[in-house]
């Protein structure tokens, strides 16, 4: 393993971070690596905003009865804000638009994405969407992030603006996905065959397909909500002969696949991290790839499992329950493959590896609790209770967000050229992991006791578990703050320079300078091996 050939050309002084300076050069940059940072900063604003909303809610819920929020309306606004911020503005663009942007061209050996200007454009579409959403918060929406009709078509909060913001954000998501698909098809370096693509690229490809073809559906659905509000189009409003359940169908047609937009890239991240720190090839690479694509495909035919008690026909419920179980199989396969990769490895516990192992645990919990919700009879009980809340957060926070944090730690040396303090990162990890479980395990139990979600107030018997959950939320929030501050501080003030390939990885993105030069590689790379070229082949 060496990078001698390239160090000769390398000029560590000039890289994409400093080859042009000034805010303007960042805001108008079409460099995918810089756009990654634009997104990163933008989404972090909403992560913090959504996080604060969550903490206020948890504080309110710590004790029964009104405590710090006197008006249930404000509580309803907060959970709507939490949902809209976290989903549309943070997690959906989360990994794809940031790390996907940064890594896909590097991993496939391209200079940039296929349409660099479109890439920058989709960032500004995101910004416009975010601004519209921010403007809508002047008369904050209280519908929940699901915008179910007829509540959304009758409430007098600014639903129209907010769903329009979501529509615009969807447009940004579409353009990003489209860009990635074309990039992966057209710009692979010589020798970078499909079966040599890192699993992160595969996961990103699957994600991009979902982004591109699912997002228009929700976009149009939301426009129809606006039409309903504006002139009573009579599609979702039952008083005009419309069908509110149809709106749920169309909404979930996107909003189930969107869960895979969030979590598939995180699968990819874990698939990258575990081989490196185990010094082993990814076990069953082909199956991991196939399972990514299978999850993306199956994701389109399972949406109505969100609606088992929504008044859909029994036939429909039975059909969608059975197909939902199809998701479980490729997901299980992935977990088995990750764990097997560690077999006979040489495992080091750097922070990204800790996050990856935590991910496996959290995702096991998320996946197995998902089974409950796919089972018809049991879901009838659990639907819209705290069990669903906990399951969802295990999937999205424990999956997608932990994946993002893991990825930020893992590729941090490449992105910034600095090395962060391992000790600080581990302390943050400990808080984060412990706090997260402390928040949501009590919520599973609350769900078992029948506690419904979106409740501003609750009967006293639920109080103890709520209090514990609130304490966990604060620890969790502290963990995130600590982790992000550590990274931010290192990026700004860190002294330790990162080498090209601090982990001795064999995948392509580590073979260029840290941070990379403006167009990624000093010379166009030619790929002649698999991304996980670790270990010794036995010549038996």
């Amino acid at each position: 393993m060496s990078a001698h050939a390239s160090t000769a050309h390398g000029n560590d002084e000039v890289n994409y971070l400093n080859w042009k300076t000034g805010i303007w050069s960042w805001l108008t940059s079409t460099d995918h690596k810089r756009i990654c940072f634009l997104y990163l900063f933008a989404i972090m604003i909403f992560f913090i905003g959504g996080g604060i909303a969550a903490l206020i809610m948890r504080t309110e819920l710590a004790f029964a009865g009104p405590t710090i929020i006197k008006d249930p309306h404000l509580y309803n606004i907060l959970f709507t804000m939490h949902g809209v911020f976290m989903i549309f503005l943070f997690v959906v663009p989360g990994i794809p638009a940031t790390l996907g942007n940064f890594l896909i061209p590097l991993m496939i050996g391209a200079k940039d994405v296929a349409f660099p200007r479109l890439n920058l454009f989709s960032f500004y579409v995101y910004v416009i969407g975010a601004l519209i959403g921010g403007y809508a918060m002047l008369n904050p929406v209280d519908t929940g992030w699901t915008f179910y009709a007829p509540y959304s078509t009758t409430t007098n909060t600014s639903v129209s603006l907010m769903v329009f913001a979501a529509f615009v954000l969807g447009f940004s998501s579409i353009l990003t996905g489209l860009n990635f698909i074309v990039t992966i098809h057209q710009l692979r370096a010589p020798g970078m065959t499909w079966m040599r693509l890192p699993v992160f690229v595969w996961a990103s490809y699957a994600t991009a397909v979902i982004q591109t073809v699912a997002t228009p559906v929700v976009g149009m659905t939301l426009l129809l909500v606006i039409a309903e509000r504006a002139f009573g189009a009579g599609i979702f409003d039952p008083t005009k002969g419309g069908d509110p359940v149809l709106m749920e169908h169309l909404f979930w047609f996107y909003s189930h696949p969107v869960v895979y937009i969030m979590v598939l890239p995180a699968f990819g991240v874990v698939g990258e991290i575990i081989p490196v720190f185990s010094r082993k090839p990814l076990f069953g690479y082909k199956m991991v790839v196939i399972s990514s694509m299978a999850i993306a495909a199956v994701g389109f035919i399972v949406w109505a499992h969100h609606m088992f008690v929504a008044g859909i026909s029994d036939f429909s419920a039975k059909f969608f329950s059975i197909v939902t179980f199809l998701v479980a199989i490729p997901t299980a396969v992935k977990v088995f493959n990750w764990v097997s990769t560690m077999y006979k490895g040489s495992i080091s516990f750097k922070t990204p590896m800790l996050y990856a192992m935590a991910f496996v645990f959290l995702f096991m919990v998320a996946g197995t609790t998902g089974i409950y919700l796919a089972m018809l009879g049991v879901d009838v009980y659990y639907h819209d209770t705290y069990f669903v809340v906990a399951h969802f957060h295990y999937t999205i926070q424990g999956g997608a967000v932990i994946g993002l944090i893991a990825a930020l730690h893992f590729w941090f040396p490449k992105m910034t050229g600095k090395i962060y303090s391992e000790r600080m990162a581990r302390i943050a990890f400990a808080f984060l992991f412990f706090g997260f479980n402390l928040t949501f395990i009590p919520q599973f139990i609350l769900g078992m006791d029948g506690m419904p979600r979106r409740y501003y107030d609750y009967p006293v018997q639920y109080q103890t578990l709520h209090t514990i959950s609130t304490i966990g939320a604060y620890l969790n929030g502290f963990g995130y703050t600590f982790a992000l501050v550590n990274l931010l501080w290192t990026a700004k003030f860190g002294k330790v320079k990162a080498p090209r390939n601090p982990y001795n990885s064999t995948s392509l993105e580590w073979q260029t300078a840290s941070p990379p030069v403006h167009e990624n590689f000093e010379t166009t790379p030619v790929v002649d091996h698999d991304p996980y070229n670790y270990g010794t082949h036995s010549h038996a």
Binding site: A5, K111, V217, A230, I235, E522
Partner: protein, 218 residues
């Protein structure tokens, strides 16, 4: 363990960024794939309304039948012919561009543009007529209240379609006619013409379904 061989390939150092980002065939393939992907998203945008139409029609079959008779079939058929013809001229424009005939591109895209205007004029005539009759958003006449589901969808679908017509016209003008007047296109470079035409065909494609659904079978 093998090396990650990184060999100097073909890019001379000191090139300005992105000019040689892709070679011509790659760029052409990329642009075309990108456009088709975009068209896929457009079709899915309309798919939601087709799906809603199917469900609403299932619930209000009788009303849909009756309401569709209130639409102006002649206007709809005329618009269909206009769009088909414009689609034809747009396709011809691509062939002209491939042959390097820039004047041919201008001529054919101009026909398409004019057809686009014609379509919009007929459409606005229909809309005004509907507004007059009280079958229009904001001025619903309560006599037609039971047609609301059909008309609501009719306006959403045709409205969004008309918006696409306008966007398509803008694209044809900006990326097709304007550069063609400067003789920009040749057999080696005509991607913008092809993409504009693709977009315009999509507008036609959607209408091919909208016309029978809305005007004929209801």
């Amino acid at each position: 363990m093998s090396n990650a061989a990184i060999v100097d390939h073909n890019v001379p150092p000191g090139e300005p960024p992105h000019i040689h980002h892709m070679d011509t065939p790659t760029a052409y393939g990329a642009a075309k794939l990108g456009m088709w992907l975009f068209l896929a998203t457009e079709i899915l945008l309309f798919a939601v309304m087709f799906c809603s139409f199917a469900i609403m029609r299932y619930y209000h079959l009788h009303e849909f039948h009756e309401a569709s008779h209130h639409l102006d079939l002649r206007a709809g058929a005329l618009n269909t012919a206009i769009l088909l013809f414009s689609s034809y001229t747009a396709a011809v424009a691509v062939t002209k561009a491939q042959m390097g005939d820039n004047r041919g591109v201008v001529k054919n895209f101009t026909y398409s543009l004019l057809c686009g205007f014609g379509f919009l004029i007929v459409k606005s005539y229909e809309y005004t007529h509907k507004a007059h009759e009280g079958m229009f958003p904001f001025v619903w006449n309560s006599d037609f209240y039971h047609y609301k589901n059909f008309l609501g969808l009719y306006f959403c679908m045709t409205g969004l379609h008309a918006l696409h017509v306008i966007i398509g016209m803008a694209i044809m003008f900006w990326y097709g006619i304007r550069p063609a007047r400067n003789n920009r296109f040749s057999g080696k470079y005509y991607t913008p013409v092809e993409l504009s035409a693709l977009y315009w065909h999509l507008v036609d494609l959607i209408w091919i379904y909208l016309f029978p659904l809305l005007y004929l079978v209801g």
